[in-house]
């Protein structure tokens, strides 16, 4: 029964969420981070999910990363995934200006609306750094947005894997620095639905035996 025995040990479990317009490279970024590869991916359907174990700051961490579809038609779905996320990664494409403006006009609002976590760490990520020649959003603009919105910022490339590890690492370090998030992610809070029992009423049955 005890299924936890064969699982890798970890100190904290964090739930991360990736959002942003369709085609900015969320799935590629995730794939680059989890399996260190890069390939052409078809648009994500609904939501994808990946687990990655990392060692950061001397702690063993289990990252449960939810990768949402950017396409408009799946927008209705993503709202329910904000719940309980300790970190949210907002991704835009440095070569497409609209994906950047949408972050402030659409996605940031979604976070405010649906996130259940006051302290959750947000991170702005400008992807496709490898296409420097086609850049449409300057680094300065990104920094400014991040400062205004109170989030971390990094530019990276899923393709060349520049800054990919750093992106997740920085986010996780910040989560580790936030006591309220740490408490949520600690192992003690894990629950197993099948080990929980309904409210005990032994008084009722045992008394008669």
């Amino acid at each position: 029964m005890d299924s936890s025995s064969n699982q890798p040990e970890f100190d904290y479990l964090f739930k991360l969420l990736m959002i942003g317009d369709s085609g900015v490279g969320k799935s590629s970024l995730l794939l680059s981070f989890t399996s260190e590869t890069f390939e052409d991916l078809s648009p994500t359907i609904g939501v994808d999910f990946k687990v990655k174990y990392v060692n950061v700051g001397g702690k063993k961490l289990k990252l449960a990363i939810w990768d949402t579809a950017g396409q408009e038609r799946f927008r209705t779905l993503t709202s329910s995934y904000y719940r309980g996320a300790q970190g949210i990664i907002m991704v835009y494409d440095v070569t497409r200006r609209d994906t950047f403006t949408n972050l402030s006009q659409v996605w940031a609002k979604e976070i405010d609306l649906y996130s259940t976590n006051q302290d959750c760490i947000k991170m702005l990520v400008g992807n496709k750094l490898d296409k420097e020649s086609n850049r449409a959003v300057t680094k300065k603009e990104g920094i400014n947005f991040a400062r205004d919105y109170g989030c971390l910022f990094i530019e990276c490339s899923a393709k060349t894997r520049v800054n990919v590890q750093q992106c997740f690492e920085e986010l996780v370090l910040k989560i580790l620095d936030t006591p309220s998030l740490l408490a949520e992610g600690s192992k003690g809070m894990k629950t197993n639905i099948f080990k929980e029992r309904p409210p005990q009423t032994d008084a009722s049955t045992s008394s008669c035996c």
């Binding site: 029964m1 299924s3 009423t201």
Partner: protein
């Protein structure tokens, strides 16, 4: 595209997600019938719970890839395999209520280019389902006659046995017992409604956005997916059988509840898919050596290719691909196999039928459907199990009702355990009028009649009557439960019953094993089974489940169980393991004044608790107090009908309607 033309890819994705959510919720509800334990409510405020562990690490979960429950369905729905793990994780880690609304919205919003064509198909399909449901209801009109018969029987029984069951005013004595039994598991309708509506708030609110046709279509497609069994043989899988899994049926039941679709509609869908699939298979067989037309080629190709073939070869409705050739064959097949459906043709019209057949078509040719009907629908009757287990002399299934050989995809087995006559094996259950294929198990009639008669004789003896007049029995029972002294008079009496009772108990254990073997052998077909039994019959069921628990990993076979007045100790029995063998509801109906059961069962065992007179504090067991209906143990002969009616077995959530 065949089935696929009914739904757009996005809708299929949403349907698959909902199925996954329902599947996981169904598993949770097995141990937490209302899905709301103490631990769950605070979950809302404690977000980390929703990301506790990932599904991939817990093979016990129904949504886990090795369970073989969710992935084949997703595959059938042609959902991109890249999206599977996301769906599994969504279903497995977070409370369903967070997501159901969103997926329902997705289901209702998405409209493809061919929307008008699709909505026509949807309309035709839902009409066909309605018509089938209606005709099935009409079919059960004859149940009124059954009810009459049952009432007659009840009178008969009452006359015979009521002398013994002097029902004096036990109300005062009851007071002692009632508070004790009032555990949280006991169903009080008020509490339930509160909880259910609380939990279902979101789905209900969103469900109105979905139109009825769409909902029926979704259920139709999902059911086809369950049956089609597009399992990948390469992947390791803990599910062993092909066919209709009990857990799938429970899931569909929950899904129908979420969508606010009546269960009778779902049963109509089951029958339609089954009948069309069988018809397709029959048409194929009969054509074996006949003319080599090109259309046959198409036909064979379409069949062989199964699901993918259907998508490739067919342009639209089934009528189109077969050039009208198959249609008469199917109609004939339907007529032969399911008279109900045969008469349907004029009602639902060609377009409706085509829609139905198309949706079902993809299931055709799959082994699963055949597997679902066991020995070609021959079923349980006539099987000579008798001499398999030495001591059990008699073990025979008797067909009941008129739902046989009609492609019903679920079986119900009734087991009596306190009988005075051979007909008592069948008659207590005659008032039932659901849409299942029903059987009564006749077993060890000689022993059972002997023990029942002995008990009855003792009850009518002057000694017992005297005791009862003094109103002593109620106090006797409460003292039995507290394991205090027994009245000396009872000792003498029970010694006399003891030996035959012991034999009967022993036989019931063996019959249970036999029943388990029958179920395992697939004799009733790999169809979800509902087991209902009273007295020693309930013990047969319990022992059967216990036996299943030794070899089975999960509830593939048994969908629902109702134990009435069961002579089973509460301690020292593996109730948890037994509970695990049942996919859906598990009811323990008990009567606190069934002192006869208490006496027969003896005091030494009573210290361990007794299921037939007490609630069982096991997660997921639904305890129902039926003291007001059951005056004494023999009441089960005639009161089972009423009890079962009150249990409303066809609803997903435990409901117990008390007559006020």
């Amino acid at each position: 595209m065949a089935t696929k033309s009914f739904l757009t890819p996005t809708q299929r994705y949403a349907a698959g997600a909902l199925f996954g959510l329902a599947l996981h919720q169904a598993q949770i509800n097995r141990t937490q019938p209302l899905g709301l334990s103490t631990g769950e409510e605070p979950t809302d405020e404690r977000p980390s719970c929703s990301s506790s562990d990932s599904v991939s690490e817990d093979p016990q979960l129904w949504v886990h890839k090795t369970s073989g429950l969710l992935r084949p369905v997703l595959k059938f729905l042609e959902i991109d395999s890249g999206a599977w793990s996301g769906l599994e994780e969504t279903a497995g880690t977070s409370p369903a209520k967070h997501h159901v609304g969103a997926f329902l919205r997705l289901l209702s919003e998405e409209m493809g280019d061919t929307s008008s064509e699709m909505s026509d198909l949807e309309l035709a399909l839902s009409k066909a389902v309605d018509a089938t449901a209606l005709s099935m209801e009409e079919d059960s009109e004859s149940s009124k006659f059954n009810k009459e018969k049952h009432r007659e029987y009840e009178h008969q029984c009452r006359e015979k046995f009521s002398t013994a069951e002097v029902q004096s005013d036990f109300e005062s004595a009851d007071v002692n017992l009632v508070p004790e039994t009032d555990s949280n598991m006991i169903d009080s309708p008020d509490v339930h409604h509160g909880l259910i509506s609380k939990m279902e708030e979101k789905p209900i609110e969103d469900e109105t956005m979905l139109n009825y046709q769409r909902k029926v279509t979704v259920l139709y497609v999902l059911f086809s997916a369950c049956l089609a069994d597009a399992r990948d043989d390469k992947t390791k899988c803990s599910r062993r059988r092909k066919g209709y899994d009990a857990r799938h049926r429970v899931t569909l039941r929950l899904l129908a509840t979420w969508l606010d679709i009546k269960w009778s509609k779902m049963e109509a869908i089951e029958t339609m898919v089954a009948a069309s699939a069988i018809a397709l298979a029959t048409a194929e067989e009969s054509k074996g050596g006949e003319e080599q037309k090109s259309s046959q080629n198409k036909w064979a190709k379409w069949k062989r290719g199964g699901i993918i073939g259907a998508a490739a070869v067919t342009g639209g409705a089934l009528m189109a691909i077969t050039g009208g050739l198959a249609a008469p064959a199917i109609a004939a097949g339907l007529g032969a196999l399911a008279p109900t459906l045969g008469t349907l043709m004029p009602v639902i019209g060609v377009s409706g039928f085509a829609a139905a057949a198309t949706a079902a078509g993809t299931v055709g040719g799959s082994v699963a459907v055949a597997a679902s009907f066991g020995a070609a629908g021959a079923g349980l009757t006539g099987s000579k199990m008798a001499r398999r287990v030495g001591d059990v002399e008699e073990f025979e299934f008797k067909a009941m009702g008129e739902n046989h050989h009609q492609g019903r995809l679920a079986v119900e087995i009734f087991i009596s355990g306190f009988v005075f006559d051979e007909e008592d094996f069948v008659r207590p259950w005659e008032g039932q009028s659901d849409n299942l294929e029903r059987y009564a198990l006749q077993w060890e009639s000689k022993n059972l009649i002997a023990v029942s008669t002995a008990i009855q004789d003792w009850l009518t003896s002057s000694l017992a009557l005297q005791l009862m007049k003094q109103g002593a029995m109620m106090t006797v029972l409460s003292s039995l439960l507290t394991a205090l002294a027994w009245p000396a008079a009872l000792f003498a009496a029970t010694n006399f019953i003891d030996s035959i009772w012991t034999i009967a108990v022993d036989r019931s254990d063996k019959a249970g094993k036999l029943l388990a073997e029958v179920l395992l052998s697939g004799l009733p077909g790999n169809r979800p089974v509902t087991l209902i039994g009273y007295s020693l019959g309930a013990r047969v069921i319990f022992k059967c489940l216990q036996f299943l628990a030794e070899t089975e990993h999960d509830a593939e076979l048994v969908e629902r169980v109702v134990l009435l007045g069961a002579p089973i100790p509460i301690k020292d029995e593996k109730w948890e393991a037994v509970r695990k063998m049942v996919a859906g509801r598990f009811v323990n109906a008990y009567s606190t004044n069934d002192w006869m059961l208490g006496i027969a069962f003896r005091a030494n065992l009573l210290t361990q608790g007794l299921a037939g007179i007490q609630p069982i504090n096991i997660p997921g067991v639904e305890n129902v107090d039926i003291t007001d209906v059951i005056e004494g143990h023999s009441s089960y002969l005639w009161a089972t009908g009423e009890v079962l009616e009150r249990l409303k077995l066809d609803t997903y959530y435990p409901v117990f309607k008390t007559t006020v």
